[in-house]
């Protein structure tokens, strides 16, 4: 570790002596660790608390470390109503379909808006974004009426469509920016080589806009994974509910009081897939942000 500053000094980042820079590095490291600790603290506490027996986890003031080990909270979450595996399956299914729908719609839409002459394009785009500003709770009842007639309630596809509706404006926005970031010369070269617009999309643009697509997928996954209200309204069977509905149910005690043990266990269970998918796609995620959202 100690030789890194020497190297940096050697390439001219700084000409000061090593001795004066070491404290600065230590301070930076300390700040980093402090920020990490603040961020990770609640998760670590949840994790520890999830292994406490119920009486201990509800104690005020709380003890930080568990005095005894218990899987009681996890068993409660696992065995709640239709059982954790059912809810996990439903959540994964809906999240997967949401990603597919978002990509299928947002990629061509973003391509069109970025690369073609569409009359009143900017107005269309603004209208699209404006729909992000309508609180979707207001849309739920009319949507529910419509979906009931179409037979799309109690159905993974139906809920995935709702999640896609919620996520689509953002997805199109990201894809449009991702496509706009691709140099026009590449497109022109492809045209000269005889590519049709669809071929340009498939062969040139989509591979280049991969980080944008990954960003869209990630956000679609996280939104769908965590969405509660629509999942509750559009599903009416225990076997069809998703994970957030299970969590709300399992922590709900009497008159709004909270069962802290199952809450912490539920947090741990539901966070794992989000963390896993983030680590899997981390590289794309960061560059996706740069090429997609931040422009």
């Amino acid at each position: 570790m100690s030789d890194i500053p020497l190297e940096r000094g050697a390439i001219g980042v700084s000409t000061r002596r090593v001795g004066t820079r070491l404290p600065a590095r230590v301070i930076v490291a300390l700040i980093c660790w402090l920020v990490i600790a603040i961020m990770a603290w609640p998760l670590v506490m949840s994790f520890l608390a999830s292994f406490k027996p119920e009486a201990e986890v509800a104690a005020v003031p709380p003890d930080y470390l568990p005095h005894s080990f218990s899987l009681q909270s996890y068993l409660k979450v696992y065995g709640y109503q239709a059982g954790l595996p059912t809810y996990l399956f439903n959540s994964f299914m809906v999240a997967f379909l949401t990603i597919v729908f978002c990509l299928v719609l947002a990629v061509p839409a973003g391509y069109g808006l970025a690369r073609f002459h569409v009359p009143f394009k900017e107005v269309l785009f603004l209208v699209l974004l404006a729909s992000m500003m309508i609180p979707y709770q207001a849309l739920l009842t009319p949507l529910f009426l419509m979906f009931t007639k179409l037979g799309l309630t109690n159905n993974h596809v139906g809920l995935a469509i709702i999640h896609t509706i919620l996520q689509l404006p953002f997805s199109v926005y990201v894809m449009r920016n991702a496509f706009e970031g691709i140099p026009r010369e590449l497109e022109e070269a492809a045209i000269v080589d005889g590519c049709s617009p669809l071929q340009i999309l498939g062969r040139i643009f989509m591979p280049l806009a991969m980080p944008g697509m990954v960003t869209v997928s990630l956000f679609a996954f996280i939104m769908s994974w965590n969405e509660f209200l629509a999942a509750l309204i559009f599903m009416s069977k225990e076997t069809a509910f998703t994970l957030p509905v299970l969590l709300t149910g399992v922590i709900d005690s009497f008159y709004g009081s909270v069962s802290w043990g199952p809450l912490q266990a539920g947090v741990v269970v539901s966070v794992i897939p989000c963390i896993a998918i983030y680590f899997l796609l981390q590289r794309y995620y960061v560059s996706g942000f740069l090429s997609g959202a931040v422009k």
Partner: protein
């Protein structure tokens, strides 16, 4: 052309696969019932299991809905014409749903079946509107006062004697809080409207007060007990007898506030008895009726659920049959009482073999008979919402000390809401 054909075939395959998938995930139809989380969910499970055992052809599929979203979900489903066949509903919302013509009239059943008349009065009242009956009791719950016997002993109080007036609550709380820094005399969830209508309003009602107006011409928050109770709460708050966290408790610690074991006295519900037995078996406590201003004055808030048939039910006849069955001795005793849940029939509530050796359950059954339930519209706006006049009054009076102004302001707003 080949490319096009391949595309068409691909599209057709995709469409077929999607259609197959969609039909695959549509669930089979059977009689459905929704019940909210908590006591009602337990009652729902045991009763539906018992019913399903003997009626394999008319099975009921029970779905537990998170408590706070029940009304939204039910109202949406009724509007869409896709409600469940049976609903177990927080009784307090009956008036709104009956007025909106969202429930099926079951007056014929009520007239023919003598068991309807044996149901605890509070459930009969809340289920009728303009002389018609729209439901009956399903899963009772009622508020009581709980006290920690260990702390009573430590503080030199008689552990078998609960407070009999609100002033005694104050006196006892003082002695218990004096035991140490981490010990408190009293607990209430200061930012939880529902908890306080459940455990605080009965103290006022026991003392002769009237809380909620039925319409715009009615009176609200009348009687000296309203002010007296708020004054005692205020005093206990300023004297530090209540944990500071109570001010911001939106109900999350409504139950654990007492079950933690460092609080002497707190209002709670009958639901606490099975909960203590399973999760906190070592805590020595007692339950009694919520007191008023003078000895002998008692009350309780009758909560829990009523059962009704939403308009649009596809199995109305069978649903009526189920409601009739719920009131039979079999369901009330072998379903509810056997599993430690209070029956809704007054004649069976205390007098049954399962509760004979359970004095705490006997207390709650007694509370059901003397308790009250407000028959009002717009309960959500008047009481249950986070910005309701009810909770505003409580917070302003207890935490800011502006008792008279708080009552006056809440009274005006309640009457205004009732008149809508």
């Amino acid at each position: 052309m080949r490319v096009l054909n391949a595309r068409r075939v691909g599209a057709a395959v995709l469409a077929t696969a999607t259609a197959a998938f969609m039909t695959g995930t549509v669930f089979a139809q059977e009689m459905t019932m929704w019940v909210r989380d908590g006591t009602a969910a337990n009652a729902g499970k045991v009763l539906v299991d018992l019913w399903n055992e003997s009626r394999p052809d008319n099975r009921i599929e029970l779905t537990v809905i998170p408590n706070l979203q029940m009304v939204t979900k039910l109202a949406t489903s009724i509007a869409a014409g896709e409600p469940p066949d049976l609903i177990s509903l927080d009784l307090i919302y009956m008036p709104d749903f009956m007025k909106a013509d969202s429930l099926v009239d079951i007056s014929d059943e009520a007239a023919e079946n003598p068991n309807f008349d044996k149901v605890i009065d509070a459930y009969k009242d809340i289920s009728s509107y303009e002389g018609r009956t729209y439901g009956t009791g399903f899963a009772p719950d009622v508020s009581v006062i709980a006290w920690n016997k260990d702390l009573f002993r430590e503080a030199g109080l008689d552990p078998e004697k609960p407070p009999r007036t609100i002033y005694e609550i104050h006196e006892m709380a003082k002695k218990i809080a004096a035991l140490g820094d981490d010990t408190y005399g009293f607990y209430f969830a200061g930012s939880c409207p529902g908890c306080n209508i459940f455990v605080t309003s009965p103290l006022m009602v026991a003392g002769g007060a009237k809380i909620l107006p039925r319409d715009g011409e009615d009176t609200a928050l009348e009687g000296e007990a309203v002010k007296e109770v708020l004054q005692v709460y205020r005093d206990m708050w300023t004297e530090g007898l209540v944990p500071e966290s109570a001010e911001t408790d939106n109900g999350a610690n409504f139950v654990s506030g007492f079950t933690n074991g460092n609080v002497g006295i707190a209002g709670t519900g009958g639901f606490v008895i099975p909960l203590m037995e399973s999760d906190f078996p070592d805590l020595d406590y007692g339950v009694a009726l919520l007191p008023g201003l003078e000895e002998g004055q008692v009350s309780g808030f009758v909560g829990g659920d009523t059962i009704a048939i939403p308009r649009g039910s596809k199995n109305e006849e069978l649903a009526r049959e189920f409601i009739n069955w719920v009131l039979t001795d079999e369901a009330q005793l072998e379903g509810l009482a056997k599993n430690g849940i209070l029956p809704v029939r007054a004649d069976l509530a205390t007098d049954n073999k399962y509760f004979a050796d359970q004095p705490k359950v006997q207390v709650t059954a007694e509370a059901l008979k003397v308790g009250y339930v407000p028959w009002v519209f717009h309960f959500a706006d008047m009481v249950n919402s986070d910005a309701s006049p009810w909770i505003n009054m409580l917070q302003r009076a207890v935490f800011d000390g502006e008792i008279d102004e708080a009552i006056e302001e809440a009274r005006e707003r309640m009457i205004e809401i009732a008149g809508e």
